[in-house]
């Protein structure tokens, strides 16, 4: 069962929503609905599900409905229609006592402008969620201190929020959200108010924390680079609607609409694309038992000057160069073992291109992409990497 499941969620702002709701269902556009009914469409027909431990990013420009959508999930905003299932329970129709309980135990929110209480010390801010659950002072301080340490703010617990920098304040916000040990973190543009450098640092730390804790995260942002970095999956919103949803690479490589295409145009792809997205299948490989003449034949056939060598089950052993192969062919040696070079650049399928560009620049042979069992999955050649960075869908390799 999905952790969060949103089905046909519609939010209309206004006092008389019936007519507008009907029009949304019939597919009328937002401007027409506003003209005819004076109601504003906040979210239209959003459906998605998020699995336990997944980071789901909702991204869009301001006014696209992303803030409304995230607030529907903990019902800070009451949806006009549709269902929101948290562990199978529909939160949109829940009585308020039960809703309060779910907010206390299952989810916590991180806010764009941090939302720290200025009259409370850091530890009391972090312990807020525990305090309203009626947990004793000693116990909640103990728990709060644990998350304060987790976000690296040990020693600041007695300070007041105004003494902290923006980045530190948001660490407090994250510590507060983690203190109640919720399953779900709702993060509403948590890093948008921070300087670019601090922002990146915080993103890295979030990923680190997420690796440890495996929360289910809904993350709102208007920054595509951030979305690509943080999200396991991304939903792109425009005009109150989700226009595309998928893994970062899907969105980069096959934008569903003109709008998405324009959005992803300027992104730093090297930070979003992984080796597996742009690697190509090696045109040919040889096995150690193959003779040099076979190898030379293959190289000639494909017009390349080196070949990867694998064993029969696909484990990479190295590569050979054309000139070495012709040398041993002249000497009459039948086995390739003596000329196999093992100093090849290798990488993992999940490595980001940004970390590979330097290797690509200097290597004379393609970079081998191998999985954890050293099985050759593909190779990176300059052409395919450049095409990927330029945003072309790879189509050529056999």
């Amino acid at each position: 069962m999905a952790k969060i499941e949103v089905k046909n969620l519609i939010k209309i702002y206004g006092t008389n929503t019936d007519k507008a709701l009907e029009m949304v269902r019939q597919g009328a556009d937002n401007i027409e609905i506003r003209k005819k009914t004076k109601q504003v469409v906040g979210v239209r027909n959003a459906s998605f599900s998020v699995e336990q431990g997944e980071s789901f990013v909702i991204m869009g420009l301001s006014g696209s409905g992303k803030s409304t959508l995230i607030r529907c999930i903990n019902r800070l905003i009451k949806p006009s229609a549709g269902e929101i299932l948290i562990d199978g329970e529909d939160i949109s129709k829940m009585p308020s006592k039960q809703l309060e309980d779910i907010r206390r135990r299952k989810m916590a929110m991180v806010f764009q402008r941090f939302a720290l209480l200025p009259h409370r010390t850091i530890v009391d801010n972090v312990a807020y969620g525990l305090e309203i659950q009626g947990i004793s002072r000693d116990k909640r301080y103990e728990q709060a201190m644990r998350t304060i340490e987790l976000v690296g703010l040990k020693g600041w617990e007695e300070s007041y929020p105004s003494n902290l920098s923006g980045g530190m304040q948001q660490r407090v916000g994250i510590a507060r959200a983690l203190a109640t040990d919720p399953d779900i973190l709702l993060m509403d543009e948590p890093f948008s108010a921070l300087d670019p450098l601090i922002r990146q640092e915080m993103q890295d730390e979030l990923l680190e924390i997420q690796q440890k804790l495996q929360k289910t995260i809904i993350f709102i942002t208007h920054d595509l680079d951030e979305a690509l970095k943080v999200g396991d999956r991304i939903a792109l919103m425009k005009d109150a609607q989700i226009v595309q949803m998928g893994q970062p690479e899907d969105i980069l490589l096959s934008p569903a609409t003109e709008y998405v295409a324009r959005f992803v145009e300027n992104v730093n792809r090297s930070k979003a694309l992984t080796a597996s997205a742009v690697m190509v299948k090696p045109r040919s490989v040889v096995h150690p038992k193959d003779g040099p003449l076979t190898a030379l034949y293959q190289m000639e056939k494909y017009g390349i000057s080196s070949l990867f060598v694998t064993d029969r089950s696909g484990h990479l052993t190295g590569y050979i160069r054309a000139e070495d192969a012709s040398d041993i062919a002249e000497q009459g040696i039948k086995q390739l073992d003596s000329i196999i070079q093992t100093d090849i650049p290798v990488t993992h399928p999940d490595e980001y291109l940004s970390n590979l560009l330097e290797v690509m620049a200097h290597t004379k042979v393609p970079v081998a992409v191998v999985d954890e069992n050293n099985i050759l999955k593909g190779i990176l050649v300059r052409g395919s990497v450049i095409a990927g960075l330029a945003g072309e869908r790879r189509e050529f390799h056999e």
Binding site: D101, M109, I132, T180
Partner: protein, 280 residues
């Protein structure tokens, strides 16, 4: 235009008001009189207590309080000011006035703060309360001073009630304002973590509205002090009584002395309450 106006007979608003007061007095008179007796006992008790405490004790107490919340200068001023009041032989009447101010302001807070909270939280309450507050603040005090007599008799109780009407609006208005000014994100914070209504109120809204509410209470004290002179007209005694006697006997010197005593009390109370709002 003129002929049109003659078509509409004069509206007997004065007559209606008289009738309404008469009716209310018949229906509610006994109840308000009984209430008045209880209140009178309480206020008189407070007055007697303040007068019976040795002045030195009160002066030391006020000076320490002033020092603690407002600093050394205000503490020194309090000592000199209060000694001056003793010197001009107005201590007892000053304490009578102080007791009335304390009673009125206490009641204003008791009624005004909850009403302000309600009016911030509930649009209907807000719409009902706002015009009533406008009415209370602009209706000349003399107009409701006299009708208070048939309900509460002469003396301190109608004085405190009319002071209440005059001094309560800022408490309600500023409490409401303070709560409405709590940033949306902090309200969302409270809700998103599952706070109940009262947890929101006591852990988030009231602490954040604190300085605004205290500014309202400060205003309330100042208005209450200025009202006690007027309230002397219906037998409230105190410093206002002295002023009132002075006016009737054209004794300008006596009036000025009592006026100065009021100013001294006003400054001490103002500086202390203002700084309570600022500290921390």
């Amino acid at each position: 235009m003129n002929s049109l106006m003659t078509l509409i007979p004069r509206i007997p608003l004065a007559q209606w008001t008289d009738n309404a007061i008469e009716y209310l007095q018949e229906e509610w008179g006994p109840a308000t009189k009984a209430f008045s007796h209880v209140m009178e006992a309480l206020i008189k008790g407070l007055q007697d207590f303040l007068i019976s405490v040795p002045p030195e004790v009160i002066i030391i107490f006020v000076a320490l309080l002033a020092w603690w919340v407002a600093g050394k200068k205000i503490a020194v001023f309090s000592i000199i000011g209060l000694l001056f009041i003793i010197n001009i032989e107005l201590w007892a009447v000053s304490m009578q006035t102080l007791a009335m101010v304390i009673a009125a302001v206490g009641l204003c807070m008791l009624i005004g703060v909850p009403l302000g909270i309600l009016s911030a939280k509930n649009e209907v309450v807000h719409r009902i309360v706002t015009p009533i507050l406008d009415f209370m603040q602009t209706l000349p005090a003399f107009v409701y001073l006299l009708p208070a007599i048939p309900f509460f008799g002469l003396g301190v109780v109608p004085a405190v009630i009319t002071t209440l009407i005059f001094a309560m609006p800022p408490v309600i208005r500023l409490t409401s304002l303070g709560i409405k000014q709590v940033p949306d994100e902090l309200v969302e914070l409270g809700r998103s973590f599952g706070s109940t209504f009262f947890q929101m109120l006591f852990k988030i809204e009231l602490p954040l509205a604190r300085s605004t509410i205290l500014a309202g209470i400060n205003q309330c004290i100042m208005l209450a002090l200025s009202m006690v002179v007027v309230a002397a007209m219906i037998g409230a005694k105190g410093l206002g009584g002295v002023v009132w006697t002075a006016i009737q006997t054209l004794n300008m010197g006596m009036g000025f002395e009592a006026g100065i005593a009021i100013v001294i009390m006003a400054i001490i109370l103002d500086r202390i309450t203002q700084n309570v709002g600022k500290s921390k």
